[in-house]
Symmetry: C2
Subunit: 200 residues, 2 copies
């Protein structure tokens, strides 16, 4: 059976999975699932993921894996997208936990408020922008000395961080002060299977 | 060289690392690092972790690994705390990303406001409580059918989720409606190396 992805095309967490599957040339079906219409709150969806979030990867008819970065690990382990060295593997996870805790919670949420909900004066935006710029600063310093986040090759850490970073402008972020991030975005964008995420 | 942990004893993210090291009987030194006194913002600390957060694991004098759940993976891979089966490994990561995204950001932040800052009327608390109870509900339904989060043995997913759940009361959470979580907390607490985290 091919993999089935339940995801929303304009969600960075979902776009990560599409890029990994296409990079690895794995056949899959995409089932568009609109979180804005509460399609992640139906009984059938909650049976796949009780946490009610996309993406979910259906590995077979009865086995469902949620959490975008866990799905990336599942697809990437055993391929060049996950290093074999034990410490480098932990480094990949370091950046993926950074992505979910310090980056997505600021940059993706600002994009959600501005680009999906059109709330350009939401009172949460100043704090989200402060935290988002801090995350971009951490990324820029790291990338000023290297081409990819871990080792010298594309990994799932790059795919995870590419997803919301290449659309950070939709969250109101000015990328001009981050030249190393911009150069890395171009590098990742040139990799097979990597694509631009649709806007809302 | 022994591992060195830079951490704050009353932080759940740091307590995870202490429990894993003690469960695995690995020798280590603990360097208490007080985030409330900005000890994670000094130049020497930022050289170890530009993101300015504890815990950090010093693997050797020049190699520093941040992000609690990446450290757990590094310590646990190759031991019974991380399953060998590829899909089960992804399941462990699924619950660890759930912990950092849906659980820690609600339950740990509520505990921080109430127990560290004594802000019992902070306007963020109602939303944090709603999200924290939702996370506890997801955990309780999952644990009602099994003894541990993944497979039938203790894994780093249990250690990650134990850290802030066993002190959720300090964040104002009533655990009475979650019998499966309470039974799991007792089960995990009985494992070698697992200990109660100090209160602030």
């Amino acid at each position: 059976m091919n993999y089935v992805v339940y995801g929303m095309a304009s969600s960075g967490n979902c776009h990560k999975i599409k890029m990994a599957l296409e990079h690895l040339r794995l056949p899959y079906q995409w089932r568009e699932t609109n979180t804005l219409k509460d399609e992640t709150r139906t009984p059938s969806f909650l049976a796949m993921n009780p946490n009610g979030k996309v993406p979910v990867l259906a590995v077979d008819q009865n086995t469902f894996l949620p959490e975008s970065n866990a799905i990336l690990w599942f697809l990437g382990e055993g391929t060049p997208l996950v290093p074999e060295d034990k410490f480098q593997r932990a480094r990949v996870l370091q950046w993926m936990f950074f992505e979910q805790y310090s980056h997505e919670t600021a940059i993706a949420v600002a994009r959600y408020l501005r680009a999906f909900l059109k709330k350009h004066n939401d009172p949460r935006l100043p704090d989200l922008e402060k935290r988002g710029y801090a995350a971009l600063g951490v990324m820029d310093r790291h990338l000023s000395e290297r081409e990819y986040f871990v080792g010298d090759a594309l990994s799932i850490a790059d795919l995870a961080l590419f997803a919301y970073t290449h659309k950070a402008d939709e969250g109101g972020f000015d990328m001009a002060p981050y030249p190393a991030v911009r150069a890395w975005l171009e590098r990742v964008a040139a990799a097979p299977g990597v694509s631009v995420m649709p806007s809302p």
